[in-house]
């Protein structure tokens, strides 16, 4: 944010840990969440109790209002589309029509005067299904005699990506050592504390419907629902009020929301649905279910020369909208080489359908899994070369920028080596090794694990277009208006839900316009109020909406300066905007910005047609993308009797470019790491052989509590990004990306005296004990 004439005092709002404007309502119980709304009608869904089969009958009590697929004439299927990777278009009916494809799939909606009544009716509904053999495992889906989940997807492979660099074979053949890891990542659920909810209300005077729902993408929700139901977007308003966490799960279109809008139009009334936790765990979106076999070719100096990967991603029963189910297998393929300098790469990545809940993005999207796999490979390679795990990383991390990856991605300035060194120093590796040895003598097993990674963030439409998505997100728009009172409203297309964007964007705008952030209101999450935008996901909002806000605010500033120059009779270059006034430098001539704002509306004749009326400017931003980076170090203690793992210490050195609000940035990293530790140790959706979920409560599916998360020590480097006009990089997902690898590498380090290796996440006590037992037996 260079540029002359903005900050006379030299102080900037950017870079300061100011308190969040979001907080006062949320800490006093005045937050407004979807489930807080009351309605005339209440909906509960009847869900399939069978994983695969033909729906033969749905019978309910007389007089009950029951909506089934037969009622939804003219309603289209949700059909996201990818024009590459041999993608097989797969439509998802809003309610199961002929066959059911996973346990939890909505087959009917019950409407009643209260939620309890609707629930009572659901209990009386009998759904008859002719069961067929279910398929729940990604690898089993590839077997020759595997059942077909969908007729449209022969062999169950819904998409397939392949890449091989030109000199791969020659380099591979000349390898000194080949190191291999077979990694397995189990299925997980993002588990926002607020489950999904929707409320649709029909306005008889305008014929419009207002859908209030837990979404990260209000505009696209509007587009998608109007496409599926076939009515103009101008007749639907979508509001994302306070949203209780999303982590990607609230990014994809929920078929339940479509029914709500359909019902509001049909009943010409208001209808409400709040998902319960069981529904959320079995039938909202899942993620991370992958098998990766990764091999690395190393030369005699332990330099990685080639990578070969085979990725199987179990995408579940349908393809999520808008990203499609390509999101995991394709991101895994594109970004697997991570922070390492390796130019030869071969990858075969498949998305396979099964009779399980649909997979969708979850914080980190594939990168927690590929980072875990690649970092296991590096640790195994270190052992193969009898090297220190830090040394092998030093030897292989990228240190020249811009760097073009084997997949053609351009990495901007980053600090892979510097953050590694910073973390190594902070944790004091020699001191740790000493205490590790002392502990081992007392049969206590400590371990240290490292994860270095790159985090692609803030990427615009070209990056999404490379995937061949029919719906190609990327850009953002921000409209900044100074109103006649001198206060500012910034309307944004992003849709934050905990990220503090109302605060950070106000900081960015404040520095440009010269007024304090508390005078700037950021408006989001309402398609009637905010410009079309893509929402908040993929660590993009601060970079892209922040960039668009900066562009719009600069235009406003330019106009204010022009007006001030006219009114103060000074050259524009001599005007500074700061502390609420426009000032002629080196003089005491000033004019309040609030007065300029008032004149822009009420005294336009003064400017003789040379300045357009009003003070509203629009910024669009569609950047190429930037890479944040970090090194995570975990210290764990493993109880070899019980398999219990305690994370003792966690150190992070990270670089997310320019930090707009350090307090908020650190909060994002903390939260991501806690999720990553949960992903590494505790969280697993378990299907039985019938395709039923055994982890349908929070007593079975285990997000971490305060007890499982150690104090997290953060260190920062700020390398400004040339690919981001605010110089900021995204950092929302990094915590989740690095932590599983660091924790599981630490477990393996702890278990090294036993010759046991764990290449599976989560590394539960059962898995650790099973590995130890197998070793004991073999001995």
């Amino acid at each position: 944010m260079s540029g002359h004439g903005t900050r006379g005092s030299g102080m900037t709002w950017v870079g300061r840990a100011i308190r969040r404007v979001e907080d006062p309502a949320l800490i006093t119980g005045q937050g407004r969440f979807t489930a807080d709304l009351s309605a005339t009608h209440w909906v509960r869904f009847v869900r399939s109790h069978v994983a695969a089969g033909k729906l033969t009958k749905i019978a309910g009590p007389k007089n009950a209002m029951l909506v089934t697929a037969a009622d939804l004439k003219g309603v289209k299927k949700i059909t996201p589309m990818l024009h590459k990777f041999n993608y097989k278009p797969l439509g998802q009916p809003i309610l199961a029509d002929d066959r059911v494809h996973f346990i939890g799939e909505p087959v009917a909606a019950v409407v009643a005067a209260s939620e309890e009544e609707a629930e009572d009716i659901v209990d009386q509904i009998a759904v008859s299904i002719e069961e067929t053999a279910p398929l729940t495992d990604g690898r089993a889906a590839l077997e020759a005699n595997a059942p077909q989940v969908h007729a449209e997807v022969p062999g169950n492979v819904i998409l397939e990506g392949k890449i091989k660099t030109q000199e791969f074979d020659a380099v591979w053949a000349s390898a000194h050592k080949i190191v291999r890891v077979e990694a397995r990542s189990r299925r997980q659920n993002a588990t926002p504390m607020e489950a999904r909810a929707a409320h649709a209300s029909y306005d008889p005077s305008s014929g419009r419907v207002t859908l209030t729902c837990t979404t990260q993408m209000p505009h696209l929700t509007r587009t998608a629902i109007c496409d599926v139901l076939g009515f103009p977007e101008s007749d639907l308003r979508v509001i994302a009020p306070d949203v209780g966490g999303g982590f990607g799960q609230k990014m994809s279109l929920a078929s339940e929301y479509v029914i709500l809008v359909w019902l509001a139009r049909k009943l010409k009334s208001s209808v409400s649905w709040t998902e319960d936790r069981r529904e959320n765990l079995i039938a909202s979106f899942h993620s991370r279910d992958q098998y990766i076999v990764l091999e690395g070719a190393f030369d005699k100096n332990a330099k990685l020369t080639a990578l070969k990967a085979d990725i199987v991603s179990n995408v579940g029963a349908y393809s999520c909208y808008p990203t499609t189910c390509g999101v995991e297998p394709l991101m895994a393929m594109a970004e697997l080489p991570g922070p390492y300098d390796v130019q030869q790469y071969q990858c075969h990545s498949r998305g396979v359908v099964t009779n399980t809940c649909t997979m969708a993005p979850y914080r980190g999207v594939s990168r927690p899994v590929i980072t875990f796999t690649l970092e296991r490979l590096m640790d195994k390679a270190a052992r193969a070369f009898a090297m220190d795990p830090v040394d092998i990383r030093r030897r292989n991390l990228i240190d020249k920028f811009p760097y073009k990856s084997a997949m053609g991605l351009e990495y901007d300035d980053a600090t892979y080596k510097e953050t590694l060194e910073m973390a190594v120093k902070a944790i004091d590796v020699p001191a740790f090794r000493k205490s590790q040895n002392e502990a081992r003598a007392k049969r206590r097993y400590l371990g240290i694990g490292f994860a270095t990674f790159s985090e692609r963030t803030g990427y615009g439409s070209p990056a999404f277009a490379a995937r061949g998505m029919e719906i190609t997100p990327g850009w953002e728009t921000v409209i900044v208006s100074v109103d006649p009172s001198g206060f500012v409203e910034a309307r944004i297309g992003s849709s934050p839900h905990g990220q503090g964007l109302r605060t950070t964007l106000a900081q960015i705008i404040a520095d440009e316009i010269g007024i304090p952030p508390h005078m700037i209101k950021v408006v989001h999450g309402d398609t009637d109020r905010a410009p079309y935008g893509w929402g908040t996901f993929a660590s993009r909002s601060l970079v892209i909406s922040g960039g668009a806000a900066l562009i719009a605010a600069r235009k406003v500033r330019a106009k204010l300066i022009k007006m001030a120059s006219d009114m103060l009779e000074a050259a524009p270059d001599d005007i500074v905007l700061a502390d609420g006034v426009a000032k002629v430098t080196g003089t005491d001539r000033t004019i309040p910005i609030a007065r300029l704002a008032r004149e822009a509306y009420t005294q336009t004749h003064r400017f003789k047609g040379e300045i357009e009326p009003g003070l509203t400017e629009t910024g669009h931003y569609d950047p190429p993308g930037t890479f944040s980076n970090a090194c995570h170090v975990a210290v764990v203690e493993v109880d070899v009797e019980t398999g219990h793992v305690k994370v003792v210490k966690f150190v992070v050195a990270e670089d997310a470019g320019r930090i707009i609000n350090p307090m908020i940035a650190d909060g994002q990293v903390h939260g991501g790491i806690a999720q990553g530790i949960g992903n590494a140790l505790l969280e697993e959706i378990i299907y039985d052989e019938n395709g039923a979920i055994l982890t349908a409560t929070l007593a079975d599916y285990l997000p971490p509590t305060a007890r499982e998360i150690p104090p997290i020590e953060l260190h920062h480097i700020e390398t400004p990004s040339p690919n981001s006009i605010t110089k900021a990089k995204g950092l929302g997902e990094g915590g989740t990306i690095g932590a599983p690898a660091a924790v599981i590498n630490a477990i393996n380090d702890a278990l090294s005296p036993f010759g046991v290796e764990i290449d599976e996440m989560p590394a539960t006590p059962q898995r650790i004990r099973a590995a130890l037992r197998a070793k004991e037996k073999a001995a």
């Binding site: 308190r19 969040r20 979001e22 907080d23 006062p24 309502a25 949320l26 800490i27 006093t28 119980g29 005045q30 937050g31 969440f33 489930a35 807080d36 009351s38 309890e116 009572d120 588990t191 926002p192 504390m193 607020e194 489950a195 306070d242 949203v243 209780g244 966490g245 982590f247 709040t274 319960d276 936790r277 839900h497 905990g498 990220q499 503090g500 307090m663 908020i664 650190d666 909060g667 903390h670 939260g671 991501g672 790491i673 806690a674 999720q675 409560t697 929070l698 007593a699 997000p703 509590t705 305060a706 007890r707 998360i709 104090p711 997290i712 915590g735």
Partner: protein, 159 residues
């Protein structure tokens, strides 16, 4: 199942006369019948603690208590924490230390922490960590919640 009984819930010092079915949970009664939506529902099976309120001085999971069980008892919710415009030290500390992000679990954490510290103002750090492990937060990684509660504990001891 549908017969209702008349009860009075006293929430933040105000009486709410309502008619509820025997199966009505306290949290549903607080939210739906009394219109106090600051208390949230996260799991309805007593694990996440988003619905924590203070009943007769003790933090309880209001999804695990029936409304009729709370009749005649003193119920405190997040809406009653501040004294007019003056925030409770716990609220102030959550704001100062960035102890919340999406804010959904926050009312439950506030009531849990206030309830426990009122009972045991000198609680040890380790015991406090156990107590805070009663509730789930998916955004903050707990770092700043712990920091905020410790800071508020100091303020509350000062009175």
């Amino acid at each position: 199942m549908n017969s209702k009984s008349n009860i009075t819930l006293t929430i933040n010092g105000r009486d709410h006369s309502i008619a509820v079915e025997a199966r009505r949970t306290l949290v549903d009664a607080i939210r739906e019948d009394c219109g106090q939506t600051g208390t949230h529902i996260g799991c309805e099976h007593g694990v996440c603690g988003a619905c924590t309120v203070i009943v007769d001085g003790l933090p309880v999971r209001s999804c695990l208590m029936f409304a009729t069980q709370a009749a005649g008892k003193k119920i405190r919710t997040v809406e009653g924490l501040a004294n007019g415009d003056k925030l409770h030290p716990m609220q102030q500390a959550f704001m100062d230390h960035h102890g919340l992000q999406c804010g959904f679990c926050t009312p439950g954490f506030l009531m849990l922490a206030v309830g426990v510290l009122e009972q045991d103002p000198d609680i040890s750090d380790d015991e406090l960590l156990d107590v805070l492990s009663s509730n789930l937060c998916r955004c903050t990684g707990y770092q700043n919640i712990i920091k905020a509660v410790k800071a508020a504990a100091k303020d509350m001891r000062k009175g």
